[in-house]
């Protein structure tokens, strides 16, 4: 080969390599910084919430035992303030599980309809409907719940209408898109061979769905439900508008109730920062954070069990 062109091309190569290298470095630093900011933010929030949430117990002498076992919540009573968070813990878990109880079969059923029964037109109709549900802000859900659902419940099942039941219905519609879309992904990512070989043995469509496809997709279907539950557990606004917000433990599904999130949003405005009343709200927030960690651990465990 010609010597001149050799050196020329080598020089060219080196030069471009250098600028390439710089670009590599710049790109790398940008993404590294983004990652660091995310990590720092998460850790700071956790630390902040941890210290704030524990202050009530360590600085203000609130009994942790009372906080976690008593049903009496009255932090503003000057003579004998009471800090029992049980009604809200129960309320949060109740609306979460009850709404998952509705959303899980509906969402998984819808996903199966879209992937197995009517993949062509079912998906065309249901998919946009679900995307629409995601886009509706929670205040709108709450507003509809407040002006349609609550009066309806008042007339049909009695009571005030503001109830666990109302919260559970509103939440189940809110988490339905999460459950449905992840469940749809779970079903459609199953290998085609599973369906084929089940049909080839003589199984009907329903037998195939019930005995092969659902068990095969189970870890991801459960992930879908847990993600829905995580959303339900953290939702504040819409629930607050329909649940009634009382401090007592509900004894029936038609009773008004309150959740950890609704009690925080309702009271944070009229407690002073640093006061006991304010600090116990942080403790409620700490419970929310702990629960979200538990949900994440659950999801991680489930995705480690995915087969497809």
């Amino acid at each position: 080969m010609d010597n001149k062109t050799m050196t020329a091309s080598q020089r060219l190569l080196k030069k471009s390599n250098k600028s390439l290298l710089q670009m590599e470095l710049r790109g790398k630093s940008i993404v590294l910084i983004s990652a660091l900011i995310i990590i720092t933010a998460t850790i700071s929030i956790t630390i902040f919430l941890g210290t704030k949430g524990l202050q009530a117990f360590f600085n203000n002498g609130v009994s942790l035992y009372e906080f976690l076992t008593s049903t009496n919540w009255n932090p503003t009573n000057a003579e004998s303030p009471a800090y029992g968070a049980v009604p809200f813990i129960v309320g949060s878990f109740a609306v979460t599980f009850l709404s998952a109880l509705i959303a899980a079969p509906l969402g998984i059923g819808g996903a199966i309809f879209m992937t197995e029964i009517a993949p062509s037109w079912g998906k065309k109709i249901l998919q946009p409907v679900i995307e629409l549900l995601v886009g509706i802000p929670s205040v709108v859900y709450g507003f509809i719940g407040l002006s349609v659902l609550v009066p309806f419940l008042r007339d049909s099942v009695g009571g005030q209408g503001f109830s666990l039941l109302a919260g559970m219905i509103v939440l189940s519609i809110m988490i339905l898109p999460t459950v449905t879309s992840i469940a749809t992904d779970a079903m459609s990512s199953l290998p085609k061979g599973l369906r084929e070989s089940s049909y080839a043995i003589g199984a009907t469509r329903w037998q195939t769905i019930w005995r092969v496809l659902i068990p095969a997709a189970m870890p991801t279907l459960l992930t879908a439900v847990v993600l829905g539950m995580a959303r339900a557990f953290g939702e504040a606004l819409a629930v607050q508008m329909v649940i009634g917000n009382v401090r007592t433990l509900p004894s029936a599904i038609t009773d008004p109730s309150a959740t950890l999130t609704t009690i925080i949003t309702l009271n944070m405005g009229h407690t002073t920062f640093g006061s006991v009343e304010n600090n116990v709200l942080w403790s409620l927030a700490l419970i929310l954070l702990a629960m979200s960690f538990i949900f994440i651990i659950l999801i991680r465990y489930l995705s480690s069990r995915r087969q497809f």
Binding site: E196, S198, V212
Partner: protein, 259 residues
Amino acid sequence: MGQAVLTEEKTVFDIKNLNLWYGKNLALKDIDFAIYNNEITAIIGPSGCGKSTFIKTLNLMIQNIPGVRMSGEINYDHQNLINGKVDLVDLRKKVGMVFQKANPFPKSIYENVAYGPKIHGLKKKGKLDEIVERSLRDVFLWDEVKDRLNTSALGLSGGQQQRLCIARAIATKPDVILMDEPTSALDPISTIKIEELALQLKKDYSIVMVTHNMQQAARVSDRTAFFLMGELIEYAHTSKIFSAPSDKRTEDYVTGRFG
């Protein structure tokens, strides 16, 4: 074509004037075919020649594809499968199928084999145990897995998975086993095992095997059919197809001149 078809041996499938369309596309043209008892029938031909389509008509799996239309006769057990009155559950119990890619269910080895009998209504544990053991023995898998029947089938090697799929297919006691390129995803040693297994199984079953591998067809099959562009070009005893084919196109294909 023709000589072999005229013999007096017992047939399991008799196919006359079979045409098949994907939408407006004629994919199988006027196929006359017979599949004989206790033989291995190999189907060869280049990609897109209709051999996979053809094998899927035999258990009507082809009907799962939207837009498929058929005319003619596929006679099995005195029934024309095309008239639309066939009970698919019953047909597929009798005509089992093994696919190109081993696709065990994400269940235990035991549950995979017991799946067929269970969906066909068998509930007795003792009888199921018996079927599972017999089926696994028939595919020479029993000794390899008998101590871990309750572990996931996905933990088996590719070759073992394919043999498990064959065991799953024979657990319903079929007459015919359809194999759609059963070894194309396997290593040579597993391939030989499947071939030996097929030779064993033909004592009890009739086997139809689609294959890309002409040596495989030559090694294991009794008869070979050569498909080209939706047509059955030649169908005869395997020795004849590979040594003295009647059609020039068959000769070109088996000698590797195209395909």
